[in-house]
Amino acid sequence: MAKRDYLGSFELIVMLALMRLRGDAYGVPISREIEERIGREVALASVYATLERLESKGLVSAELGEPTPERGGRAKRYFHVTAKGLREVRQTRQALIKLWNRVPQLEGGAA
């Protein structure tokens, strides 16, 4: 059986947030999107660390924007999901759905 890496839970969350945002995805909107969806504060540094890991795997690509004064002259770093990244998310989703079905502890309502 071929060895393959599935996305970790936070990696998957970041990838999904990135896909929801489409074009306007840099650190601030990504972390806000995650906070709004999962309902807890996330550290921007953790989001960046995850994005950089995904970038090194070729699942996202990054480009630098122009520096702006409200950011103290620092540039935004925009991220995009690559075709490989999209494929990886689909495969992880399929694997999770297969695992999710027929779990006795989760069937029949309240745990």
Partner: protein, 216 residues
């Protein structure tokens, strides 16, 4: 949008330990949109821990080298400066009927601790100087090993002093040594860092140039 003036201590730490321009900009942008000082501090501390962990994971051999360099410098300075100084001081103090164990009762002995601070700063400086590309992370790695070395003794003396006040002199000596070593290593290790980080790094200049070329 309020005026952008986040806590200066946190910004200083981020500038020293977190070399991520985009992250610094994001934190500033979020702060200007109404995030609290506590939020900013939390984010900076997490950024330092995450950045430090990443640097050490990706440069394991360099981290080992930093530890070896730091401890070698420590060993040399200990035997060339600190031990002879303490022996000399003990001899002089005992000749004058002063117990070196209760040094803090004699204010004129306080400056002698400066040697401890300078010794630690020298070790930190050597580690920082020999690992300029990853200065902050390597200095922190070395500092952590020094703290790990001193901590068991400090904890043991803390327990002892809670049981018996007789151990207070030993506890105070160890405590001062711990603080001075930490401050000294950080000061010495990050000494040149301010000058190096004041100008944009070659990497960020490269990215800006690439971006400008692709836009034109």
């Amino acid at each position: 949008m309020r005026s952008v003036r986040p806590p200066s201590g946190a910004t200083w730490l981020l500038h020293k330990f977190g070399r991520n321009e985009a992250l610094s900009g994001d934190l500033l942008e979020e702060y200007s949109l109404g995030r609290s000082d506590a939020w900013y501090w939390r984010q900076v501390l997490v950024a330092i821990v995450v950045g430090f962990g990443k640097e050490v994971r990706t440069h394991k051999l360099l981290a080992l080298r930093a530890i070896a360099v730091g401890w070698a410098a420590n060993y040399i300075i200990l035997h060339v400066v600190w031990v002879p100084w303490w022996r000399f001081l003990h001899r002089i103090l005992l000749e004058h009927g002063v117990s070196p164990v209760v040094w803090w009762r004699h204010y004129y002995l306080y400056p002698s601790w400066l040697i401890c601070c300078i010794w630690s700063a020298a070790c930190g400086w050597i580690v920082g100087r020999s690992h300029r590309e990853h200065r902050a992370a390597m200095v922190l790695v070395y500092l952590l090993t020094v703290q790990l070395w001193l901590l068991p003794e400090l904890l043991r003396l803390t327990v002892d002093v809670l049981e018996n006040q007789r151990f207070l002199p030993y506890f105070l000596t160890c405590f001062v040594e711990f603080i001075f070593a930490t401050v000294g290593i950080l000061l010495g290790g990050l000494w040149d860092g301010a000058r190096e980080q004041a100008t944009p790094s070659n990497k960020s200049l490269f990215f800006r140039r690439v971006k400008k070329t692709s836009l034109s």
